[in-house]
């Protein structure tokens, strides 16, 4: 290590301590910011539990950058591949970091990145502590218990009174259970070595006690399938770094390999304002602790590490929901289903009929060879359903998976050459359908980095468990080319942009001809100071859908234009008070149908000095001409709950979230949210219909740490 290194570090420590010292953000707020950034870009209510868990873990056990492995750095979800390599190269050349502020000297790290990393990292000189002992685990492990309940306060049709004769005639006309949603979770972890947890959930409308359902339904056949207690239970145990065992998962887990062409359960990032995050990190097998009731694995999975090889194998068997199409008249076995259900809702008699209708067995494995400069892997998966899937075949879906068993095989790679990181995967399904994805991420100048991705998914590639980069959610019938660039033109400014063009060589649902489209995003971030950040975002997507023709019976395709413009600013007014504002405009056009939409909101976050609480308040006004020009916005919620509601029609929405720390071990959350519509007399439809123009929701949550 040379002197220059010391002096520079020292200078940076001085400067940077000053910059960071007045930070008012709590660590949890930083996690929220990161999740909000990801969530606000996808416009989908996804489950961010795993991401939250990973980041939350690092808050209590900050990652030592000097000894962190690449796997661990990947779990931060903040760094791209280039930054990870750059850090490793820096440490190799200059010796271990002396302070986290020294990151500023590492090529490829912006001020913004370091601010984001801050709560999750530390720097300590020395060797990694990777010895596991059971005694320590039992003594120092930490336990957390969560209980949450939430309820819509207005009466919805599905819960209203009904006469015996009416419900007998139409059993599906009311929900079986109460309108409360209840969620309970226990988790234990000891550093990164051992994790154990149980999750239980009852959705609104699901019956908790068998006896509580409408008396006249108790003779119906579905009654025998009901059971007392929560509708969904999940449990997991994960052990890491125990000798040759890199990890071992028992119970519920998720599997993510390669670039996701073969298998990728759980959250996968697609296009977002993180324009360079296009490569998947292939974390392998890891615990599942969220509440997606269908897409997870249940059984056992493990990864063994021997020298440079990682060998993984897993087996899962569970029952999944499906619409029953045919039952064998003799032994009453289900022989065919028309669709697999993924909502996880079991609130009506027919939901109960479909619940766990067929078995699903999945087995697979992966072999990866890790080298400092490159990594190659092979993944194979085989799955078998207890009955034939018999979808209604129409021209558009004739190439999709439609039987009871399938296998996928994939080969993936990544390597670095001249600072350019190449990656990709090629995969094959049992019917010989193929899919390819190839890409590269390159820092081409200190201020410019670009990412390119090309994918070619054939129309007959069938992958039920995959989740790869692309425009459609299915990995088939798509060719596309993506290019993204991140440019840091001046200090405090950042431009992120991507442009993606794609063709769908075969028909799609609602698109009766081969088609093509494109979308792009330009986001300009400006950090006026540590306390004032703003960005301006433009996003547009143009792709065709079926139009309607009065002349012929064939619907011609017409372009659908979705355009969004957003200005967002967040600023600290004082040490205790911070504000956020957003103005968003949406424009939708499909032939002669046009509609505009606006959303404006004000956020207030307040943290008093003396009381251990935080208060988040939002008031939003929205006015959209139709549902097509709806606008999504991420909302602050209680821990482990995520809401990204769509704002449409004309009205206002506000919420108030309160967190109060009773003691160091007990935290309470309370949340009230209400949307009022100006131009509606009833809301929702079917069983969720509300006779009134407002919808309110109350949530309460407690966390006990011990």
């Amino acid at each position: 290590m040379n002197y220059k290194h010391y002096i520079l570090s020292f200078v940076f420590v001085l400067c940077w301590s000053f910059v960071f010292s007045q930070s008012t953000k709590t660590d949890r707020e930083t996690i929220e910011d990161i999740i909000e950034e990801i969530a606000s870009s996808t416009d989908e209510e996804l489950d961010y539990t795993t991401l939250f868990d990973d980041l939350n873990y690092f808050i209590t056990n900050p990652l030592n950058l000097n000894t962190a492995t690449k796997d661990q750095l990947e779990k931060l979800h903040i760094l791209n591949d280039f930054q990870m390599n750059s850090l490793k190269a820096y440490i190799e050349k200059n010796g271990q970091l002396l302070s986290v502020y020294e990151l500023q000297l590492v090529y490829g790290y912006s001020v913004d990145d370091i601010q984001k990393l801050f709560p999750f990292i530390t720097v300590a000189v020395g060797e990694a502590d990777n010895k596991f002992s059971l005694a320590k685990a039992l003594k120092y492990g930490n336990h957390q218990l969560f209980i949450r309940t939430q309820v819509v306060t207005e009466e919805q049709t599905g819960y209203s009174e009904i006469s015996d004769s009416l419900i007998n005639a139409k059993p599906d006309s009311r929900y079986l259970g109460s309108n409360q949603k209840i969620y309970a979770k226990y988790k234990y972890n000891y550093k990164n070595f051992l994790a154990f947890g149980i999750t239980a959930e009852k959705d609104a409308g699901e019956a908790f006690l068998k006896s509580s359902i409408h008396d006249s339904l108790k003779d119906e056949p579905f009654y025998d399938k009901l059971h007392n207690g929560f509708d969904f239970y999940s449990a997991h145990l994960q052990i890491n770094d125990f000798g040759v065992v890199k990890n071992l998962c028992l119970g519920d887990y998720q599997v993510q390999f390669g670039q996701g062409l073969v298998i990728w359960s759980g959250l996968g990032y697609g296009k977002s304002p993180y324009v360079l995050t296009v490569k998947k990190q292939s974390p392998g097998i890891k615990k599942f602790s969220s509440t997606d009731e269908n897409k997870f694995m249940r059984g056992v999975g493990t990864t063994l590490r021997y020298k440079n090889f990682d060998v993984s194998a897993f087996y899962s068997r569970k029952n999944v929901d499906a619409n029953i199409a045919e039952i064998d008249s003799l032994d009453e076995e289900v022989v065919a289903v028309s669709a697999l259900q993924i909502t996880g809702l079991h609130a009506t008699p027919s939901d109960i009929e479909n619940k766990h209708a067929i078995s699903e067995s999945v087995m697979g494995g992966n072999i990866t060879y890790n080298h400092q400069k490159f990594k190659v892997g092979m993944t194979a998966v085989n799955y078998l359903f207890g009955a034939d899937l018999e979808k209604n075949v129409s021209p558009y879906n004739q190439f999709e998976f439609n039987s009871s068993q399938n296998s996928n095989f994939g080969f993936d790679y990544q390597f670095t050459l001249h600072d350019i990181n190449f990656f990709g995967e090629a995969a094959l399904s049992q019917n010989m359908g193929m899919a390819f994805i190839n890409g590269a991420i390159m820092p081409i100048a200190p201020q410019v980095s670009i990412a390119i991705v090309h994918r070619n998914y054939q129309r007959d590639y069938q992958s039920y468990y995959g989740g790869a980069f692309g425009e459609s959610s299915k990995i088939s019938n798509e060719q596309g080319f993506y290019i993204g660039a991140e440019i840091l033109p001046y200090r405090k400014w950042k431009i992120s942009t991507y442009f993606d063009t794609y063709t769908f060589p075969w028909l799609k649902f609602g698109v009766d001809a081969p088609s093509y489209g494109y979308d792009y995003l330009v986001q300009v971030d400006y950090s006026l100071s540590r306390y004032v950040n703003m960005y301006f975002k433009v996003k547009q997507e143009i792709k065709p859908e079926n139009g309607s023709s009065e002349v012929t019976s064939i619907d011609p395709l017409i372009d659908v234009d979705n355009f969004k413009l957003r200005y967002h600013i967040s600023y600290d007014v004082s040490k205790n008070l911070s504000f956020k504002n957003r103005v968003e405009y949406a424009f939708y056009e499909k032939g002669a149908e046009k509609s505009n939409g606006y959303l404006i909101y004000q956020d207030i976050n307040y943290r008093p000095n003396k009381i251990p609480m935080t208060l988040s308040f939002r008031y939003a006004i929205f006015d959209t001409e139709s549902y097509d020009s709806k606008i999504y916005a991420y909302e602050n919620d209680v821990l482990y709950a995520f809401s990204v509601p769509a704002h449409y029609s004309k009205g206002t929405r506000y919420y108030l979230t309160l967190k109060y720390s009773l003691t160091g071990r007990i935290d309470l959350w309370l949340r009230y949210a209400r949307t009022t519509y100006d131009d509606k007399e009833t809301l929702g439809s079917g069983l969720d219909e509300i006779l009134g123009n407002h919808k309110s929701e109350v949530k309460a949550q407690i966390r006990i740490k011990f």
Binding site: H418, M442, I444, A445, P446, Q447, V448, I450, I452, F481, I483, A485, I487, F499, T501, T503, Y516, Y518
Partner: protein, 271 residues
């Protein structure tokens, strides 16, 4: 099949992609960068923006061949020469031919570019363009003028504008068929010696504007990677370039979602 395809191309898409007597943007370098070219300064400035000629240091000759959508009859070839003369400005000449025996367009043009100050130049060009249709239709020729400016406000930045067919010349009065008038403005920025990013907006008076973005990256000394996008219609382009002493060779591929692949190759020789 080929004929049907050709007819489809000509009737449906020709307007946007290469309308008759359209401006012929030359060189596989600009093609690899989404056709953004107004701010570049090389031998192809003779066609792309004559103001760029003023910044040339060596006399040079270039050959360019382009094929659109793998259709035989959609070939384009051009020969270009540029000659900088100290204190006088730079002269340029280009000859080009597009089409085949039944339909073709040929063009001859003389260009001139001059620096007005150390970092600002202008350029002019006069072309004679001739369109020929087989059989009884015959041929028709017209003169077309174009002009451009190019500025380097800072060491790393190029800003340029160009106008094609200043006089809005028509091919024939009785059909009111005009040669397009096209206005282009663009900015280029070199982030380092290795990286050039370009953007350009092209507006044909009759059509929606075309936006273009391009990146050129010097992977190793003398070897360039390029990519770019242009809109209306959306086309992705990719290119490579190799420079060895006095020879520059560039290759570009452009993809169109419906019509497929086009390719372009150009070779320049610097004296």
């Amino acid at each position: 099949m080929n004929k049907i395809f050709f007819a489809l191309v000509m009737t449906l898409f020709s307007a946007n992609i290469f309308a008759g007597n359209d401006i012929n943007l030359n060189g596989a370098r600009s093609a690899g960068m989404g056709f953004s070219s107004v701010m570049l300064s090389d031998v192809w400035s003779v066609s792309n923006n004559q103001a760029g000629l003023a910044f040339l240091e060596n006399p040079s000759v270039g050959l360019n061949y382009r094929n659109s959508f793998m259709v035989n009859t959609l070939g384009y070839q051009a020969l270009t020469m540029a000659m900088p003369i100290k204190n006088t400005g730079a002269f340029g000449l280009n000859v080009s031919y597009f089409g085949y025996s039944q339909y073709n367009e040929s063009q001859v043009g003389l260009a001139y570019g001059k620096k007005l100050s150390e970092n600002f130049s202008f350029g002019l060009k006069v072309n004679y363009v001739q369109t020929k249709l087989a059989e009884d239709y015959g041929k028709i020729g017209r003169a077309v003028a174009e002009a451009g400016i190019l500025a380097k406000p800072t060491e790393n930045m190029f800003v340029a504008a160009h106008l094609y067919n200043i006089s809005r010349t028509k091919i024939a009065d009785y059909t009111n068929e005009t040669i397009p008038t096209i206005f282009r403005i663009g900015i280029g920025y070199t982030f380092s010696e290795k990286v050039l990013v370009t953007t350009e907006v092209e507006k044909d008076l009759k059509y929606s504007p075309i936006f273009k973005v391009g990146i050129e990256y010097q992977l190793v000394e003398g070897f360039f990677l390029r990519t770019g996008i242009s809109t209306n219609p959306t086309m992705n382009s990719f290119g490579i370039g190799y420079k060895h002493k006095r020879i520059v060779a560039d290759l570009a591929f452009v993809t169109h979602a419906t019509l497929g692949l086009s390719s372009q190759i150009s070779i320049n020789f610097l004296f």
